[in-house]
């Protein structure tokens, strides 16, 4: 063998050498989503046309980022999701987070609020303030934001079925603080489609729910132009057990569905598309996640331009919030979760996120303590200020593997779009349990792989500790439920109940017509009508949704 031959690059030679080498066995080599790929990506693995597939940051197709300067211009918003007990406790946590350098607020509501029940409803028993903050009325919302000038913060509210009521409460708090609606900045989740698909916090059947969402989109376009009326969310789809590609595909398909309803309403695409935002999961399989974010931007830009005829470049930008994967956290050796969260957060940053929530290490056990939340926030601050990754835009762009993964995510997403179309669209596919089945299958496959030790989870199925001590966890004071019930009972006694009845009667008439319900909901909020009362009125007109249980 001559010296020249041995230094000649040879893909074939590598393939043979690779094949001849013994491999580790036992653990799967596929991604966490089950995706197979070659052990090495080369120029032959992936075909990229630089200009049309990647382009430049802030330019079509936005694969490399939505802004020209990305984190050299401005860091992502560090936004920790918080909420528990009554509005007073959460207000305190909000102020704590702002004092520690958080740059936006994010509100978690309790289950009764999310399901449209007042705290004094029998179905709310035991659930008030447990998983988030209880908000029954404008009164509570005012307490929640006491001392926080709404003109100066951006607020995110994670609520879906009763999003319209919560938006009305927020607008009214602004009004009382003297901040005009068109100065309010923030996001409300409102993504009802993923509720039917994954998170299951639905109240009404899909069609009236979609009408209410479209009312909000239309109203915000006119009244709250800085507000994001929907955050189209893959997060919960992933948490329910989907693969990365399912998260991507189902989320985008939901996004297209909101667009189609708004266009049907007669809105111009460029009047609302710039205010649509997204919310993705950051799971542990690093490159798969980065490919997912990059593919998401490219698909959204292409479809908005080519399918929906958007002309305003802002309509083409997929801006997204990311949260690290709650489902990847372990109750065993919980400190190790700090490491998991760090890796996930890094994937989100390298994927070009606009805002980020890092989970706290104790969240497989309970809602996080203040100390745990601070470490989670510090994790973001270390990534932002100490690692240097913010100095380079899309630093993994051009990596053969990352480009391959981006293309693969995109390919799988389009395959799902075809399947969904064939079923008659997202709403029909929901009714046929399509998404629910796909997700349950993926979740079961993953669980089986873990139980067969084909996937190792540190501290759970390998490297266990005999004496695995539980850290101190946050306890929700059970007396808060009684306190909140007293607040709402007292409100119901002291307000002008004739005005309440009148506002509800108008809302009922509105719900039976095709009028935009937002002005009626704002009026009801001003009259101290509670969230549960408004939802009950709509339940009477629209009925409730029940899914067919399958497993």
């Amino acid at each position: 063998m001559s010296g020249r031959e041995s230094t000649e690059p040879s893909l074939e030679g590598w393939r043979e050498a690779y094949a001849a080498t013994p491999k580790r066995t036992g653990e799967l080599h596929t991604t966490i989503s089950g995706l197979e790929s070659e052990p090495l990506a080369t120029p032959e693995t992936v075909e990229v046309d630089y200009d049309s597939d990647l382009g430049y940051p802030g330019q079509f197709p936005y694969t490399r980022g939505v802004y020209p300067s990305m984190y050299r211009g401005r860091l992502w918003t560090m936004r920790q999701f918080a909420g528990f007990g009554t509005a007073e406790e959460t207000n305190e946590r909000f102020r704590y987070l702002l004092e520690h350098g958080q740059t936006g607020l994010s509100t978690a509501f309790d289950m009764p609020t999310l399901m449209g029940y007042d705290s004094d409803h029998p179905r709310s028993l035991g659930e008030v303030g447990r998983e988030g903050v209880a908000i029954d009325s404008l009164n509570d919302m005012q307490t929640l934001f006491a001392g926080i000038p709404l003109g100066e913060v951006s607020t995110s509210m994670t609520i879906n079925s009763p999003a319209a009521m919560m938006l009305a409460f927020y607008a009214c708090v602004g009004e009382r603080q003297g901040v005009a609606r068109d100065k309010l900045r923030g996001t409300i989740q409102t993504d009802i489609l993923k509720e039917y698909i994954a998170q299951k916090e639905f109240i009404f059947p899909p069609e009236p729910s979609m009408r209410l969402v479209t009312d909000m989109v239309e109203w915000c376009a006119k009244e709250m132009p800085l507000w994001h009326p929907i955050s189209i969310s893959g997060y919960h789809i992933r948490e329910a057990g989907s693969t990365a590609a399912q998260e991507l595909a189902f989320t985008l398909a939901n996004g297209f569905t909101y667009i189609e309803w708004a266009l049907e309403r007669g809105l111009d695409i460029d009047d609302f598309a710039p205010r649509l935002s997204f919310f993705f999961n950051a799971h542990l399989d690093f490159f798969e996640e980065i490919g997912k974010y990059r593919a998401a931007r490219r698909i959204w830009a292409r479809e908005l331009r080519d399918r929906y005829g958007a002309r305003d470049p802002k309509s083409l930008l997929m801006r997204f919030h990311t949260q690290t994967a709650g489902v990847s956290l372990t109750a065993q050796q919980p400190e190790v979760n700090i490491v998991r969260t760090t890796i996930e957060a890094l994937a989100a940053v390298l994927g070009g996120t606009q805002s980020l929530h890092t989970n706290s290490y104790d969240e497989a056990l309970a809602l996080p303590t203040e100390d745990a939340v601070r470490i989670a926030l510090r994790t973001q601050q270390v990534i932002a200020h100490e690692t240097g990754v913010v100095n380079q835009i899309d630093p993994l762009g051009g990596s053969y593997y990352v480009e391959y993964m981006t293309n693969e995510m995109e390919r799988q997403a389009y395959a799902y779009f075809e399947q969904i179309d064939a079923l008659g669209g997202v709403v029909e596919a929901i009714k046929q349990n399509f998404f629910q089945r796909e997700i349950a299958d993926a979740a079961f496959r993953y669980q089986t792989e873990v139980e067969q030790q084909q996937r190792v989870i540190v501290g759970v199925n390998r490297y266990q500790l005999e004496d695995d001590a539980t850290p101190t966890i946050l306890k929700i004071d059970p007396s808060l439920e009684g306190k909140q019930i007293a607040r709402v009972t007292e409100l119901k006694a002291r307000r002008d109940n004739a005005a309440v009845a009148a506002a509800l009667a108008e809302l009922k008439v509105g719900a039976m017509s095709d009028a935009n319900l937002m002005p009626l909901i704002v009026e009801a909020a001003r009259a101290d009508v509670t969230l549960g009362e408004m939802c009950d009125t709509l339940r009477e007109v629209w009925g409730i949704w029940r899914e067919t249980p399958t497993f």
Binding site: M111, P112, L114, M115, Y117, R123, S124, L125, G126, E127, R130, E131, E195, Q199, K200, E201, F202, E239, A240, G241, V327, T330, A331, Q332, A364, L365, A366, L367, A440, A443, F444, Q447, E451, I457, V460, T470, I473, I476, P478, R546, E547, T548, P549, T550, F551
Partner: protein
Amino acid sequence: MIRVVIAKPGLDGHDRGAKIIARALRDAGMEVIYTGLHQTPDQIVETALQEDADAVGISILSGAHMTLVPRILDGLKAQGLEDVLVVVGGTIPEDDAAELRELGVAAVFTPGAHTSEIVEFLREKCAPVA
């Protein structure tokens, strides 16, 4: 055949765990009745009665377990179903788990539990008396 009701009480819609357990128990040869979401304690007791259940598996991640689980236990007792084995799964802090076991819950399975462990437990506890 062991008959198991898998139940989701309260308002919480997180059903990933419930569905995985339901499927694993079915694959292990048990008869599984999944209630679906948003069940009240009374509805769960009624299902256990109607379905002649050997066991009820309660999946809960909302933090409302200390309110809802005792009500289910009381309801089962009131119907004369104290022989029905009750197991709970979810994010249950250890102190609460201990209290639930004291109240009559046979086992509490928390994040990281294997489905095979749950299958074995039910097989052992629900075995027909020889």
